[in-house]
Subunit: 157 residues, 2 copies
Amino acid sequence: MKTSVLSFLRRYGSLFLYGVALASLLFLLKWLELRFLFIHYSIELYIGSIALVFTLLGIWLSHKLTRPKVVVLEREVLVPGPGAGVNNEMIARLGISKREMEVLTLIAEGLSNEEIAARLFVSLNTVKTHSSRVFGKMEVRRRTQAIDKARRMGLIP
Amino acid sequence: MKTSVLSFLRRYGSLFLYGVALASLLFLLKWLELRFLFIHYSIELYIGSIALVFTLLGIWLSHKLTRPKVVVLEREVLVPGPGAGVNNEMIARLGISKREMEVLTLIAEGLSNEEIAARLFVSLNTVKTHSSRVFGKMEVRRRTQAIDKARRMGLIP
DNA sequence: TGCAAAATCACCCGAAAGTATGAGCCCAAA
DNA sequence: TTTGGGCTCATACTTTCGGGTGATTTTGCA
């Protein structure tokens, strides 16, 4: 074996060296190419990552800095129309007393003077005076008129 | 002048050349430095512009691809309640006629029988009969009661 | 403590509302 | 054509309402 190798070197030594040198050179070139590619890709990746990061930053900024769109959903709520709340101001302005209001409400509920008297534990005449006073203050002549006007003015629900 | 220059060169020629060479070298170095700075800043600007562009891209993407932020504000809207429409079914069920409904409506508006008679161009007795019939069908004994019940049943607004 | 407003009650009278009964007219459906 | 429902009107009667006047008691407030 040794003899054959030595004779081979002796006979083709320069050629072998040339081959090795060539191979080395090719390896060097390959290494340079890889290095170049590495650098190339490195830059690309760097730029890419920069782009990605700032794209994400943009998205984040967009989410953080844009004011949210306000959508108003109107929810329908059943509310008693004009007679929403009792108009205490109007009652006070007309000078209607507490007892008079009680009588007025009971009138609006359809009770007769006699029934109202029984409900409030007073005499029929008392109810009559109260209702009469209310009518005077409301400037009406009938209880039905009083009911209608009281509703429109919000005196009763 | 020429003589002095030539003599100067002849006496300090090498020194002059040295100075020129030194100056050139310094210029070269300065140029390299400027070039380096240029490259340096170029990279920074490049990266900066990349960042800016992709930040804007991110914002644009955010606007284009994400559904807008929605804040739901619920607002209560007053809606006329059940008494808004006239309950024709109930009217039919009670067997209340058209004329009777007219009288009932006018009663609810606070008109007296006489006023109703004038309004409808009929006699007081006619109004009385109509109202009496309505009261009978509604099972009430007074006009105020009729008003209240009619409201509750949706016969009148 | 005293006063004004509110609440209570009474009596009378006229007006309005409601009941009962009867009857005539008109129109659409059977 | 008959029939029934709706609309009209009248008369008589009862009940309820509303206005007017006057009076006493209670109560809230200064």
